[in-house]
């Protein structure tokens, strides 16, 4: 089955269905007698609830239920699970506020859910929601993390001192402080990592379906990790997992955002239990801006120390991160779990990071593509460029001078990352060659002739992927020899079905058309953590591979028994032996395995296998992005003229899908750098970017054709030699874009750039630089 073998640019098996309009997203589902819910949300960023009157809403046409926090409290369901495990600076436990599905005493962000109105149609639920009357006593609000930590700031949770959720420290402080104090040269900068929003094209939605007779809850929803979701839901509802079924259909993108059990999941389940009928909730886009989790959002101060030869001697980073109004398990992980990326591909011996997480009157946060990686990559890769500028060294040369050489592997960085492999200089050179780095100054000069400011920016970033963690997979042959493949992973568009079928087809010789792929249903999937953190190819792929290995091992024994030989050879789905001219296909063996007469004494009937792959170590995808931009100095408009990437994501399973992941990530990284930002009004805490009319989404016109070249160094941390690819594009794009824009403007005296670098901001920087004394 070479056609579908790993490494081939196989077109996706899920596509024909999706291209025909046959996707089954949660909002496409209609269950008999289903009712529809609408959430009444807080219009205030911070307010005490004085009175809730739902009598008029309850009497409105079509309304079947109106639920408040009081109903929730009476139901026996609990609060949503919250993040834990961190400490505060004094060593005390992190502050963990209660996270109610419906709040009844105080609202803490614009969009905080207060009442759930259920009616026979969605429109009538929304009509009735307008009749809910809530008296609020508005309170001062704080939306910025630094302001939240200042003395006298409004307290999001009254008993949480200075709004501080946790403090996370990493690295060797004494060594780092000493190295910086002794350094020949130190570059210092403050960075603002903006707040952005996944803006998946499918908004979130859920259907709750409680079966009273069986006393069992089914939840159809948007998620990333079905079994983890069920576990958290079980903790929320105080119901054993065996009474819960969680089902994900097609997921219209997630990027981390849909990975939690949100308030509305509880609401539809409580409403369904109350009414004994299914209840659906689907966010409108405007609602999604108020109700979804946001990502990133920190203020960082960083220092990079260099010796006289330009070698990095230490890196010190302090950041104050926004954790939103509440936390959920993992919702704050972007603040601490990927800081390792700060160490970069460099030999920097001493690194220390100090992160403070603060509550604010804003939406909860969740991982968003990269989850701390792009933030960290931005800081180190900007610092390297700033250092290059201050020392008058070429930025590519400064990187080269500090890169970890392949001979030094495995390499323990000054932070948590311990690299197993990587050929950074080779990958850097590959990108420099692709972009014709040497010829750049001529292109810059030509652009000047046209009145444009051309700049070039490099980033070389590395991140952790896949782990440590585990994933499950199951291969089930049926009686005719076709296969059901069950995965613990859940695709939100990455193409798991294709890659997994490639593995199974290639190993077992069954055509992909005869393999049915199943995921995301907790009644079907036996084990697995789900999808996230660029882990599926490595962990899910290895699990599928292991399951096929088990199938092959058993099938060998059956085939040998049937061919009456000691041992058989196996290749491309066919069992043979030099001792007989007979052969058996995998399909024949699978069919035969259903009858005990074909099996060795004592062997179990059937040809099925499940497998769990556990990686004790993560892998480290890395790569180089080089961007050339041109800025129109009169308008500040930036156009991307060239974009090249050389990437080491290990063994490439499907080059077509890999490119898709990288380019998709780049679009989100560039989007954050030049246009996207969630903004709140400082005083009122109102969201200022509450629809696509104000939140600027990247369109096709923003990008040139992006050239990507894979330069793999296989890893031994998993069975397939692959490294994660889902987040890499986004990680490299942010700093490369910033570096290119600063380079275009540096001759004017511009030293730094804020995100998003909108045309107006760029124009103002140019104007200010012109006015500044030379």
């Amino acid at each position: 089955m070479g056609e579908f073998a790993l490494g081939q640019p196989v077109s996706r098996f899920e596509d024909p269905r999706l291209l025909r309009g046959g996707g089954r997203y949660v909002d496409d589902m209609v269950l008999p007698n289903m009712a529809y819910g609408h959430v009444v949300r807080s219009p205030h960023a911070h307010a005490r609830i004085l009175k809730i009157d739902v009598s008029r809403a309850r009497a409105a046409p079509g309304v079947v239920a109106v639920l408040t926090g009081e109903d929730w409290a009476k139901s026996g369901f609990g609060d949503l699970p919250t993040a834990g495990g961190k400490k505060r600076r004094d060593g005390g436990k992190m502050y963990r506020p209660k996270f109610p599905a419906l709040t009844s005493d105080k609202v803490r962000y614009v969009g905080d859910p207060v009442v759930f109105v259920v009616a026979d149609t969605a429109a009538r639920a929304q009509d009735a929601a307008e009749l809910v009357e809530i008296d609020y006593e508005p309170l001062p609000a704080v939306t910025d993390s630094i302001r939240a930590a200042e003395a006298g700031a409004p307290l999001v949770h009254e008993d949480c001192e200075n709004n501080i959720c946790f403090v996370h420290l990493e690295g060797d402080k004494a060594k780092t402080d000493a190295a910086i104090a002794a350094a020949r040269h130190v570059v210092r900068r403050k960075f603002r990592l903006s707040r952005v929003y996944a803006a998946t094209m499918e908004t979130r939605g859920s259907i709750g379906d409680y079966d009273r007779a069986a006393d069992r809850y089914t939840c159809y929803t948007t998620l990333q990790r079905a079994l983890n979701f069920r576990e958290e839901l079980s903790a929320t509802l105080h119901v054993p997992e065996s009474k819960l079924r969680v089902v994900a259909g097609d997921i219209g993108g997630s990027f981390g955002m849909k990975s939690g059990v949100f308030n509305e999941v509880g609401m539809v389940l409580l409403a369904s239990k109350t009414l004994s009928r299914p209840v659906k909730w689907t966010a409108s886009r405007s609602e999604a801006f108020l109700a979804d989790a946001h990502g990133r959002d920190n203020h960082t101060e960083a220092e990079l120390a260099l010796d006289e030869r330009g070698k990095f001697t230490a890196l010190r980073v302090r950041s104050v991160n926004n954790v939103g109004a509440y936390t959920q398990p993992g919702s704050d992980s972007g603040s601490y779990s990927n800081l390792g990326t700060l160490a970069g591909v460099y030999t920097t011996p001493a690194v220390h990071v100090d992160v403070t997480g603060c509550y604010t009157n804003t939406n909860i946060m969740r991982p968003f593509r990269g989850n701390g990686r792009p933030e960290a990559a931005f800081v180190i890769e900007r610092l390297v460029d700033i250092a290059a500028d201050e020392l008058g060294v070429d930025p590519a040369e400064l990187r080269r001078r500090n890169m970890i050489s392949p001979d030094a592997m495995p390499f323990q960085t000054g932070l948590s990352f311990n690299y197993d492999c990587g050929e950074f200089e080779k990958v850097l050179d590959g990108a420099l060659e692709m972009v014709d780095y040497k010829g750049f100054e001529a292109r810059r000069a030509a652009a000047r002739e046209r009145g444009k400011l051309r700049g070039i920016g490099i980033s070389y970033t590395i991140e952790k992927a896949a782990g440590p963690g585990f994933e499950g997979a199951e291969v089930r042959f049926d009686r005719t020899g076709s296969i059901t493949l069950v995965a613990g992973s859940v695709t939100q568009g990455q193409g798991h079905e294709t890659v997994f079928k490639q593995i199974v087809s290639d190993r077992l010789g069954i055509h992909p058309d005869e393999i049915h792929y199943l995921q995301g249903d907790t009644d079907q999937v036996f084990l697995g953590e789900g999808t996230g953190g660029s882990r599926t190819s490595a962990l899910g792929g290895s699990a599928v591979f292991s399951a096929t290995e088990k199938v092959v091992a058993k099938a060998r024994r059956i085939a040998a028994h049937m061919l009456q030989v000691e041992e058989v050879d196996y290749a491309e789905g066919v069992f043979t032996s030099p001792k007989t001219n007979r052969s058996l296909t995998m399909r024949e063996v699978a069919r035969s395995a259903m009858s005990p007469k074909n099996l060795p004494q004592g062997m179990e009937i059937g040809l099925n296998a499940n497998a769990v792959f556990h990686a004790s170590r993560q892998n480290y995808p890395n790569g180089c992005h080089i961007i050339e931009v041109e800025i129109d100095p009169e308008t500040g408009v930036t156009s991307i003229e060239r974009y090249v990437v050389t990437d080491d994501v290990g063994v490439v399973m499907n080059p077509k899908l890999l490119k898709g992941q990288i380019v998709g990530g780049i679009a989100q990284g560039v989007g954050q750098m030049v246009m996207e930002e969630i903004r709140f009004d400082d005083q009122s805490g109102q969201i200022l970017t509450g629809s696509f009319m104000d939140y600027a989404m990247p369109h096709a016109e923003l990008f040139p054709h992006i050239d990507i070249k894979a330069m793999p160094t296989p890893t031994k941390t998993n069975l397939l030699g692959v490294k994660g690819a889902g987040e890499a594009g986004c990680v490299g794009a942010l700093p490369a874009m910033a570096n290119a824009m600063v380079d275009a403007l540096s001759h004017l005296g511009v030293k730094d750039i804020v995100m998003p670098a909108t045309p107006e901001r760029v124009w103002r920087m140019i104007e200010e630089a012109k006015r500044a004394p030379a």
């Binding site: 077109s11 996706r12 899920e14 596509d15 024909p16 999706l18 291209l19 025909r20 309009g21 046959g22 996707g23 089954r24 997203y25 909002d27 496409d28 209609v30 429109a123 996944a198 803006a199 998946t200 094209m201 499918e202 908004t203 097609d250 997921i251 219209g252 993108g253 990027f255 409108s284 886009r285 405007s286 939100q492 568009g493 990455q494 193409g495 077509k656 899908l657 490119k659 898709g660 380019v663 998709g664 990530g665 780049i666 679009a667 989100q668 629809s691 696509f692 009319m693 989404m697 369109h699 096709a700 016109e701 990008f703 054709h705 992006i706 594009g729």
Partner: protein, 165 residues
Amino acid sequence: MLYDVKMTVNGAAVAGQVEARTLLAQFIREHLRLTGTHVGCDTTQCGCCVVHVDGVAVKSCTMLAVQAVGRSITTIEGLAAADGTLHPMQEAFREHHGLQCGFCTPGMVMMAVDIARRKPGADEKTVRHELEGNICRCTGYQGIVEAILDGSAKINAARINSAEA
């Protein structure tokens, strides 16, 4: 009050009763249960809901069902040939990895077919510009643009061939 609506959808006469405020997208999804047409925003910007009304691309979230009375609608479900063969544009999207999560895809493909009709021979820059009303969050657009260029070339080559024949 409810209004009687009759129109042609994917070649078949359909009828229903709707409120005045029922959007064409809602009528297609909820009444006809053709759920390939998606709704991704409420400000007429994302293009997930694009269908063809009398042969031209229209955002079905910004048209009332009552406005579509008597019109002929094609949705993503009506694009493939009767025997199930994918439309050349659908095939091109698959070939060029023009979709990931698939949510923007139906609207994207319907717009792509419209672009191929209006702008035969369009270059990459033009195609990118023509996608100003369609948002994709997964692909970074590269696969989509490649698919439209290729699909468009194939559609227009077939058109020329059939005109010559």
